[in-house]
C-alpha cells in the first residue's frame, strides 16, 4: 500500500510540476508545499493503520491486548 502511494506520488511530482529553482526563496517553502502534497497519503495510511489496530484489538482476547 505504502509502495503504491509512493509511486503515484512520484509520478505526480515528476510530471505535474514545472522545474524551477531560485535559491533566494525561503528554502522552507518547497518543503511545506511538498508536505501538504504528501499529507493525503500519510493521513490515509495512518487512518488505515489505526483502524487495523482496532480491528485486531477487537478480535484479540482481553488478556493479550497491549497498552497501545
Amino acid at each position: 500500500m505504502k509502495m503504491r502511494n509512493a509511486i503515484v506520488l512520484s509520478l505526480v511530482l515528476l510530471f505535474a510540476v514545472p522545474s524551477v529553482a531560485h535559491a533566494y526563496l525561503d528554502p522552507g517553502t518547497g518543503s511545506q508545499v511538498f508536505q501538504i502534497l504528501i499529507a493525503v497519503f500519510v493521513g490515509a495510511g495512518f487512518t488505515l493503520k489505526v483502524y487495523w489496530r482496532r480491528i485486531k484489538a477487537f478480535f484479540r482476547p482481553e488478556s493479550e491486548s497491549s497498552d497501545e
Binding site: S10, V17, V20, H22, G28, V33
Partner: protein, 455 residues
C-alpha cells in the same frame, strides 16, 4: 551576565549565564505558548518521563527586561555533547525522542516548532530534550513547520550512516544546519529508493523542495491533524527501520590480549586506587574503547565522558550503557582532530577542549596510538592531556610491547624518542608524577600525575 552564543535565533527567549548559573529568559511574545506548556500538563508529562529537561521558575531578574515575561533555571546537565559526537544509535534515539515529544505535544494541542538535533542532549545514555521554548500552540490545519529540519538533522544523516557508511555521520559537523536533502539524495545508494519512507522523505522531498520552491504556495493550504499524526508516524517508521550493526558484542570487544587475567586485575586495582586518591568530580576517559575503566570511575562517583575514535566501539558502549542505564556518556571523538568551534563566529557549538578541563583524565593504552600511530611527539601528547584534564592517570606502553611491535611491523622505526625517560620528561613539564607502577606480566607502566597549575 553572558548571553549563550548558541541562543540567538529564537525570538521566544534565550539562555544566559549569571554567576556561573544558566538561566533562560522567556520573552513576552512567547508567553501564551509557555503558559499552555506549563498549564496544560504537557510540561509535567514530559519532564516526569525524563524526556524534557526540568526547570524551576526563579525570581532572578531577566537579562533583557524590556522583552521579558519570566526567567527559568533549567536543570544543568554535566556535559553538553553534539550530534556529530554521537554514535548511530544515539542519534537514532535522539530522533525517536523528538518524534515522541511531537506526538505527545499534539495530545495537548501543541507542536514542536523546530526539530534541531541540538535540542537534544545526553544525560549518560539517556537523550533529553533541552529546549523548553520549542513548543508552540497547535493551529488546526497547519503543516509541521519542523518537517524539513527533522529530515536534515536526523533522517538524512541516519540514512547515510546506515545505508552508505557510518563515518558519514561526521557530515553533521560540516553542516550545522543539517545535511542538505539534495546532497543526501545524491549520495545515498539507489536501493534506498525502494524503501517507501526514504523515497518519500528524502528523495522526493529533495526534489519537491527544489521544484516547488517557486511554483508552490503553502499559504492557506491545510493539512488535517490525522495527516500530521500520519507524517510523524511515517517518520518514526523509517527512522526505526534504519540499522547500523557493528560486529561483535560489548563483552568481547575489549582487547584483553595485552594482559593476562592477573595482569588485568592488577591494572584494574591500580586504576581504582589512583581514582580513589584523586577523587575527581569529572573524568574524561580518553581512548576509552567500550568503557571498561569508565565504568569503574562512574562506580566511584565521578561524572564520566568516554571518548573513542572508533564508531563501532562507541556504539557498543552506548548500547551496553543503555541496557544497564549507566551514567557514562560515550562519545565519538578523534583526539588527533577534536571537535572544533562551529556555527556563527565559531561560537555556537563549542570546541571539545573548551568543554573541559575535566578534574582528571584517564589515558589507558592510548599514548602509543598517538605517538606511533599518528607520529605525535610525546611533548605534544603531554600538552594535550594537560589541556583536557587537571590530573591524569596515564599508561605508558613501551616499544617492547607486542602491540607496539605490531604497529612497527610494516613501517620504519623513526621513533628514537619513544621511551619511558622521554615520556616522563615530557609529562613532567605539565604534571607532577606522583607514582609509577609496573603492571604485572607486561612491560607497561601506570602513572598517577597531578597538574602543576594550582586551580
Amino acid at each position: 551576565m553572558n548571553r549563550e552564543p548558541a541562543s540567538y535565533r529564537d525570538p521566544a527567549g534565550f539562555l544566559f549565564w549569571r554567576n556561573g548559573v544558566l538561566y533562560r529568559q522567556v520573552n513576552r511574545r512567547y508567553a501564551p505558548h509557555y503558559r499552555r506548556l506549563m498549564d496544560s500538563g504537557l510540561y509535567e508529562d514530559l519532564s516526569d518521563r525524563g524526556w524534557l529537561v526540568s526547570h524551576r521558575e526563579t525570581e532572578e531578574p531577566p537579562a533583557d527586561p524590556d522583552r521579558a515575561q519570566c526567567t527559568i533555571a533549567p536543570r544543568r546537565l554535566p556535559f553538553i555533547s553534539y550530534p556529530y559526537e554521537w554514535c548511530f544509535e544515539a542519534l537514532k534515539d535522539a530522533a525517536l525522542l523528538t518524534l515522541s515529544i511531537q506526538e505527545k505535544a499534539l495530545e495537548y494541542d501543541m507542536v514542536l516548532k523546530d526539530a534541531s538535533a541540538y535540542n537534544v542532549a545526553f544525560d549518560g545514555s539517556r537523550p533529553v530534550f533541552i529546549d523548553t521554548l520549542s513548543f508552540e500552540c497547535y493551529e488546526e490545519g497547519a503543516p509541521w513547520i519542523a518537517y524539513r529540519q527533522f529530515c536534515e538533522h536526523f533522517l538524512a544523516p541516519l540514512a547515510m550512516m546506515a545505508r552508505a557508511h557510518v563515518d558519514l555521520g561526521r557530515l553533521l559537523a560540516a553542516n550545522v544546519e543539517g545535511v542538505p536533502l539534495a546532497a543526501a539524495s545524491r549520495a545515498l545508494p539507489w536501493s534506498t529508493r525502494l524503501s517507501p519512507g526514504m523515497l518519500m522523505h528524502i528523495h522526493l522531498h529533495a526534489r519537491g523542495e527544489e521544484r516547488l520552491a517557486e511554483s508552490g504556495d503553502a499559504s492557506g493550504k491545510r493539512m488535517s491533524r490525522r495527516a500530521l499524526e500520519g507524517l510523524v508516524d511515517s517518520l518514526r517508521g523509517v527512522v526505526g527501520g534504519l540499522r547500523y550493526q557493528p560486529r561483535g558484542i560489548w563483552s568481547d570487544y575489549y582487547d584483553g590480549s595485552s594482559y593476562t587475567e592477573e595482569g588485568f586485575a592488577d591494572k584494574e586495582a591500580a586504576v581504582r586506587e589512583y581514582l580513589g586518591r584523586l577523587d575527581p568530580g569529572t573524568v574524561w576517559d580518553l581512548g576509552g574503547n567500550v568503557g571498561v575503566f569508565s565504568r569503574i570511575a562512574e562506580e566511584m562517583g565521578s561524572a564520566v565522558v568516554c571518548m573513542d575514535a572508533d564508531p563501532a566501539c562507541v556504539q557498543l558502549h552506548y548500547l551496553e550503557n543503555r541496557r544497564v542505564d549507566s551514567g557514562v556518556l560515550p562519545l565519538l571523538v578523534d583526539l588527533t582532530n577534536p571537535s572544533p568551534g562551529l556555527g556563527w563566529e565559531n561560537r555556537e557549538r563549542r570546541p571539545l577542549l573548551e568543554r573541559g578541563p575535566a578534574d582528571a583524565i584517564m589515558a589507558l593504552a592510548l599514548v602509543h596510538h598517538l605517538a606511533i600511530g599518528h607520529n605525535v611527539p610525546l611533548p605534544s601528547v603531554a600538552a594535550l592531556f594537560a589541556k583536557t584534564g587537571r590530573d591524569a592517570i596515564v599508561e605508558f606502553v613501551p616499544k617492547e610491547d607486542h602491540q607496539v611491535q605490531r604497529m612497527l611491523r610494516d613501517r620504519a622505526d623513526i621513533f628514537d624518542d619513544y621511551h619511558a625517560d622521554a615520556f616522563e620528561a615530557a609529562f613532567s613539564s605539565h604534571f607532577v608524577i606522583e607514582e609509577r607502577r609496573e603492571m604485572r606480566d607486561t612491560d607497561r607502566v601506570l602513572y598517577l600525575m597531578r597538574g602543576r597549575d594550582p586551580s
